[in-house]
């Protein structure tokens, strides 16, 4: 029982990371049709800025700086690189691919290829007993952060004017433009949100894994892609549901099966969902 609880909470923690990366990816894709390979770079930006700032200021402040760096990175990438190429989907993907290759190489040149130890704050250290299992606190930090981001995103999408524009744009972008609304402002906005969420994921992943390395971004990004496809592109609740499924499946199978079997199961789940429901779980 204790093992099951520990695995479940750890799986949910992993799901929280996936969700933070996938939610922005999904919104960006749903609204602007951009498959953003550079999303892992936003994550790394958050992780490295937090790591760098944490030697000067308190980790909480460093975390905020990291998220700000992710938002900034998202906005700059959108304005400078993606905007001139709108409606040319393939070129956009290519530019983000180039950016991800160059970005990881840049990180390696600046910080080195080896993992760096990431500081762990006192509020994320220690364990809590839950149903007889001793659960490390950092899992709960991940889950709470992801839940807050989820609620915040849902509230933003449902109750604000820009949220309405984003939702309408995901449904039918041409119609929103035809109504005289500048959809491109919403593009910048979703890149900023996605960049911030990914940066938060990066910093929290640093706390969770106790290290940060240039490769963290791309390894999380691939599972985030899977989550986005399973959940249905452009749907935040779909991403949340898919992230939970993927995180739990991966954690349990990796523990009870051989190492790596969980990752293979996740891809099998992806294949099954595609055969059964090509548009993802959230599609009506």
């Amino acid at each position: 029982m204790a093992t099951v609880v520990l695995l479940a909470v750890t799986g949910l923690g992993l799901a929280a990371l996936y969700f933070l990366v996938a939610s922005g990816l999904s919104l960006v894709f749903g609204l602007a049709d951009v498959l953003n390979f550079a999303h892992g770079l936003f994550l790394s930006a958050g992780a490295y800025v937090t790591w760098w700032a944490s030697s000067w200021v308190a980790l909480e402040v460093a975390l905020l700086l990291g998220v700000a760096a992710g938002v900034l990175a998202g906005v700059v990438v959108e304005l400078v690189l993606i905007r001139p190429l709108y409606s040319r989907t393939i070129e956009q993907v290519l530019v983000t691919v180039g950016l991800s290759l160059a970005g990881v190489a840049l990180l390696q040149a600046v910080f080195g290829a080896d993992p760096r130890p990431f500081p762990r704050p006192s509020w994320a250290a220690g364990v809590v007993p839950v149903l007889g299992a001793r659960i490390p606190v950092d899992r709960f930090v991940l889950i709470i952060a992801a839940a807050l981001v989820f609620l915040g995103l849902m509230a933003f999408l449902r109750y604000t004017r820009y949220g309405l524009i984003v939702r309408a744009g995901v449904e039918n972008r041409e119609m929103v433009s035809a109504l005289g609304i500048d959809v491109r402002k919403a593009f910048t906005l979703v890149f900023a949100i996605g960049g911030g969420a990914a940066a938060l994921a990066g910093a929290l992943a640093g706390i969770h894994f106790s290290t940060v390395s240039p490769a963290t971004g791309s390894s999380l990004l691939i599972f985030a892609f899977i989550v986005v496809v399973i959940g249905g592109m452009g749907s935040v609740p779909g991403s949340a549901l898919a992230a939970v499924l993927v995180g739990l499946l991966q954690q349990f199978v990796n523990y009870y099966g051989t190492s790596g079997a969980g990752d293979v199961c996740v891809v099998a789940l992806l294949a099954a969902v595609l055969l059964w429901r090509p548009k993802g779980l959230a599609a009506s």
Binding site: I90, A102, A105, I222, S259
Partner: protein
């Protein structure tokens, strides 16, 4: 006369080792790698440039060729049989996975191929049953005929790689001239029209995927001969991304563009790695330089190297 230009270039490439300038094992090894990646990039372009499918999983079929052949050789099979089985395995894997992945199109297809290839990378890295050697990879200890082993025989490896490149280019040329090749171009440009005409775009996409996967597996076998072993890098998504960069730099959908892009990229990557100590800061990372170059290429010469000439001839019209 222009019809014979490719043959002339091929003749020059075949005779290259007889020149004192190129007849050094290091140079020939680099040229052999350039030829293999030129062939791989050209094979990848069958999907990307000619059928309009953006696959992020091409490394998987290459890795099936590399690891499949290495494992069979180590199990004691002859080179010919191992190579044949590895290519067949590549074709079968491409057929099965392609049939699933092509049920979705556009960007979703890209993501699914990426996910499938990721499984390959994970399996290779986790070393199931001691088959793949994990992080260390595999070295081939026996089974390679003596004319392909040793520094003095590098010239044979070069010719082998050149033969692979020629096979790929001839296959692609035959396909693009055949009715099926025309349908592939039509699938790229307007799949709806293809289905209105009573043809199934799905079948032709699977065909393109399988041929491309088979060529990649064959390239894997040749790569194994040149390098003498398999390393987990060949299964990584980075390899697919570099193939994509090669094709875009060279010119997607053109006859020789992707091959030229592949050769040039491999050459630059090698040379930049060699100069890494002398270059300052981020310039010491080859992928940084090549990534930036790639982004600039997407913006400023979208047709790649192959269309540079036409662009220069028609200023302002391209």
């Amino acid at each position: 006369m222009r019809r014979f230009l490719p043959l002339l270039v091929l003749a020059v490439l075949v005779l290259l080792p007889y020149s004192a300038l190129f007849n050094a094992p290091g140079t020939l090894n680099l040229l052999a790698l350039c030829a293999v990646f030129a062939g791989l990039a050209a094979g990848y372009d069958l999907l990307f440039g000619r059928t309009g499918l953006l696959s992020f999983g091409h490394a998987l079929y290459f890795a099936v060729g590399v690891y499949g052949c290495a494992m069979l050789l180590n199990a004691g099979l002859s080179l010919l049989l191992s190579a044949l089985l590895a290519v067949v395995a590549g074709v079968v894997v491409a057929a099965v996975l392609g049939a699933v992945a092509l049920r979705v199109d556009g960007i979703a297809f890209s993501m699914v191929t990426l996910a499938f290839a990721q499984v390959g990378a994970i399996v290779v890295a986790r070393d199931p049953g001691g088959l793949t050697g994990g992080e260390e990879g595999l070295t081939v200890s026996s089974g390679i005929p003596s004319f392909l082993v040793g520094v003095a025989q590098t010239v044979n490896l070069y010719w082998l790689a050149l033969a692979y490149l020629t096979v790929v280019l001839v296959v692609l040329h035959r396909i693009s001239r055949s009715p099926a090749g025309r349908v592939l171009a039509a699938v790229r440009d307007d799949p709806r029209r293809v289905s209105v005409l009573g043809l199934s775009p799905y079948r032709f996409k699977v065909l393109s995927f399988v041929v491309s996967g088979g060529l990649a597996a064959l390239g894997g076998v040749v790569y194994l001969m040149i390098v003498g072993g398999a390393s987990p890098h060949v299964a990584s998504s980075d390899l697919t991304l570099t193939l994509l960069v090669m094709v875009v730099l060279g010119g997607p959908g053109t006859r020789f563009g992707p091959a030229i892009g592949g050769a040039l990229f491999t050459f630059l990557d090698y040379k930049l790695t060699g100069y890494a100590d002398r270059l300052p800061g981020p310039l010491s990372q080859p992928l940084f330089v090549l990534g930036v170059l790639f982004i600039l290429a997407v913006y400023f010469f979208p047709g790649g190297l192959a269309q540079l000439r036409t662009r220069m001839r028609l200023p302002g019209r391209a």
